[in-house]
Amino acid sequence: MVSPELIRTYLQEVGDPEIPVLTIIDLGVVQQIYDAEGEWVIELTPTYSGCPAMQQIEADVLTKLQEKGINNARIQHVLSPAWTTDWISEEGRHKLRLYGIAPPVNEPDKSILFAEAPVVPCPKCQSPETKMISLFGSTACKAHYQCLSCKEPFDYFKCLK
C-alpha cells in the first residue's frame, strides 16, 4: 500500500547531485507528499532560486518512484515558506562534516556591513581558527574558507534564513 510515509522512505535513497552524501530528505527540500485524486504530488522547494541541481533532483525523484513501481507521481514547486538552512537535519549536518563541508552556523544579521565573519570550525581538524576567503563559493549555497591550523581550504554551507 503506497502512502506518503512510504514515498518519503523511498526519497531517502535520492542523493543531492552536488553533495551526493546528502539525501534530499536530509537537505529539507521535500515538503508535503499527498494524494490528489489518484496522483501522488511531491512538493519540492528550491534551496536557491537559480540552483541548477533542482532539475536533476526532480528527474531523480520521478525515476526513483518509477523504479519502485509508482508511475502516477508529479512534482509541485513551492516557494513559500522559503527554504532555510535550519531545515537541514542533524544527520545531514553530520554527513556534511564527514564529507569535508562545514555545516551552517548562526550568522550575524546580513544588514550589518563588514560584520565579523562567523566562527566556522574546520571540518577536517576541528580547529576554530579559520578565515573566510570569499562570501561566494563553488555553488550558490556555499562560501569559501581556509583553516589557519591545518591550512586546508574548505567549503562552508552558508547560513540562509
Binding site: P52, V78, L79, A82, K110, L113, L135, F136
Partner: protein, 251 residues
C-alpha cells in the same frame, strides 16, 4: 483587465532580473580575481533563477500556453520591459558593482513590501528572492565602501561609475497606469516609500565610502515601454542566439 496589468507588472520584474543576470554572466572567466568571478556569476544565477519563477507566473497570467523560455528568448527588443540601468554595459569592475548596488538597494525594500501582496504566488517569489537579495546587497555595499574609501584610483573609478549611472537610477521608481491600477486595489506596493528607503541606503553607504551623489539630475527612462538604449540589441543577440539558430532546442 487587472489580469493584463498584473502580467505586464510581473514581466517588468522578470526582465529586470533576466537582463541583469545576463550582464553579470558576461563576467564569467573575466573577473578581476577568482573570488569575484565566482561571486558575480553566483549573483547572476540567483537573478536568472528568480526570473524563471517570474516568467512562469507571467506565462500563467498570459494564458497563451507559453513557457518561461518562450518569454525569455523569443520576444523582440521592444517587448522587453526592463529598466535601462540593468542593460548598461559592465564597464570596469566599479561600474558593474555600482550598477548592482543601485539595483540591490532597490530590490531589497521592494521585495520586503511585496511579501505582503495578496497575490500569493508573487508574495512567495518575493519571500524567496529577498533572502538572496540581502546577501547581494551586503556584498555590493561592502565593495562600494572598499573602493570609495580605498585608493585614489579606486575612489575615482567608483565616483565615475556613480556619475555615469545616476541618470538611470530614477527609472527604478517609474510608475504608470499599470502600477496605478494594481496599487488602487492594494495588490502591489507604492514605489514612493521604496524610493525613500533606497535613498537612505545609498546615502549611508556613500557616506562611509566618501562618495557623492551627483549634482546634475538628468533622468532617463523608456525601458518600461520597451524603448531601450543602443546596448540592448547586442545583449539580446547573444542572449537569444541559440534559440534563434536552433528553434525549440533544449539543453
Amino acid at each position: 483587465m487587472e489580469q493584463k496589468a498584473l502580467f505586464e507588472y510581473v514581466l517588468r520584474m522578470a526582465d529586470d532580473s533576466l537582463i541583469l543576470g545576463q550582464r553579470l554572466g558576461e563576467w564569467c572567466g573575466h573577473g578581476p580575481i577568482l573570488e569575484e568571478d565566482i561571486a558575480l556569476t553566483n549573483i547572476s544565477l540567483d537573478l536568472i533563477g528568480q526570473s524563471i519563477s517570474l516568467f512562469d507566473l507571467a506565462a500563467a497570467l498570459q494564458g497563451e500556453g507559453k513557457t518561461h523560455d518562450d518569454l525569455a528568448f523569443l520576444r523582440f527588443e521592444n517587448q522587453y520591459k526592463n529598466v535601462l540601468l540593468v542593460e548598461q554595459p559592465n564597464g570596469d569592475f566599479a561600474m558593474t558593482i555600482l550598477r548592482q548596488f543601485f539595483f540591490d538597494a532597490f530590490r531589497k525594500p521592494f521585495y520586503e513590501a511585496l511579501c505582503k501582496s495578496p497575490i500569493t504566488q508573487l508574495a512567495a517569489i518575493a519571500e524567496k528572492s529577498l533572502k538572496e537579495t540581502r546577501y547581494h546587497l551586503k556584498h555590493t555595499s561592502e565593495w562600494v565602501i572598499r573602493m570609495g574609501d580605498g585608493t585614489e584610483e579606486s575612489h575615482a573609478r567608483a565616483q565615475a561609475a556613480i556619475d555615469h549611472l545616476w541618470r538611470y537610477t530614477h527609472e527604478l521608481f517609474y510608475e504608470d497606469a499599470i502600477d496605478a491600477e494594481l496599487q488602487a486595489s492594494a495588490q502591489v506596493p507604492s514605489l514612493k516609500a521604496i524610493e525613500t528607503s533606497w535613498l537612505e541606503t545609498v546615502k549611508a553607504v556613500f557616506a562611509e565610502a566618501t562618495l557623492e551623489i551627483p549634482a546634475n539630475n538628468w533622468k532617463f527612462d523608456g525601458g518600461r515601454q520597451g524603448r531601450h538604449s543602443e546596448h540592448m540589441g547586442y545583449l539580446l543577440a547573444e542572449l537569444q542566439y541559440m534559440q534563434r539558430a536552433y528553434p525549440n532546442m533544449q539543453w
